[in-house]
Amino acid sequence: DQQVKQNSPSLSVQEGRISILNCDYTNSMFDYFLWYKKYPAEGPTFLISISSIKDKNEDGRFTVFLNKSAKHLSLHIVPSQPGDSAVYFCAAESDSWGKLQFGAGTQVVVTP
């Protein structure tokens, strides 16, 4: 069963605009959430994370929002740049679980 869901397989956005990536989860025990970015032929790299005690975490152009009641998180990239074109994975874990659960990924294409 897929406990972390990214329902949008792809997203196209113009350079300079905002990219919004969404992620839903089903397991209420998840309390730590991460976003990873993956370029072709490379492994995923860590981007940003958020603990369930927060509802927002910001790092430069990247902001993650967490809505625990809705079991939903989103990643905002603003402004989007061509180098942001990649697959973005949402991941979740709990202290008692011991392993990360990943979503299926969203392919972002930033056009000039």
């Binding site: 990873y36 490379e42 492994g43 202290d95 011991g98 392993k99 990943f102």
Partner: protein, 114 residues
């Protein structure tokens, strides 16, 4: 700096053969994961090692798959009697500590079973 290293980067094998995939984690990282990504799919958890604890094998898809981690460092994922559906990119990741710290991934091994 030294990241997670996986070898080989590509492996083509005939159906029915056994393959071994190797992962060298970042030195000092206590946790090691194996994931795989089939074409057009997300990251599928396979197995998780944490220190000296018994590994979490709950993601291994069949008994043809096994993994070991020697001396708390290098790990080998073995697939016996490979099938075409085993074709995927196999990703290894290591983690310092456990919960609440990011995974560091290698570049993966692309396995093609013909």
């Amino acid at each position: 700096g030294a990241g997670v290293s996986q070898s080989p980067s590509n492996k083509v094998t005939e159906k029915g053969k056994d393959v071994e995939l190797r992962c060298d984690p970042i030195s000092g990282h206590t946790a090691l994961y194996w994931y795989r990504q089939s074409l057009g799919q997300g990251l599928e958890f396979l197995i998780y090692f944490q220190g000296n604890s018994a590994p979490d094998k709950s993601g291994l898809p069949s008994d043809r798959f096994s993994a070991e981690r020697t001396g708390g460092s290098v790990s080998t994922l073995t697939i016996q009697r490979t099938q075409q559906e085993d074709s995927a990119v196999y990703l290894c990741a290591s983690q310092q500590g456990s919960y609440n710290s990011p995974l560091h991934f290698g570049n993966g091994t692309r396995l093609t079973v013909t």
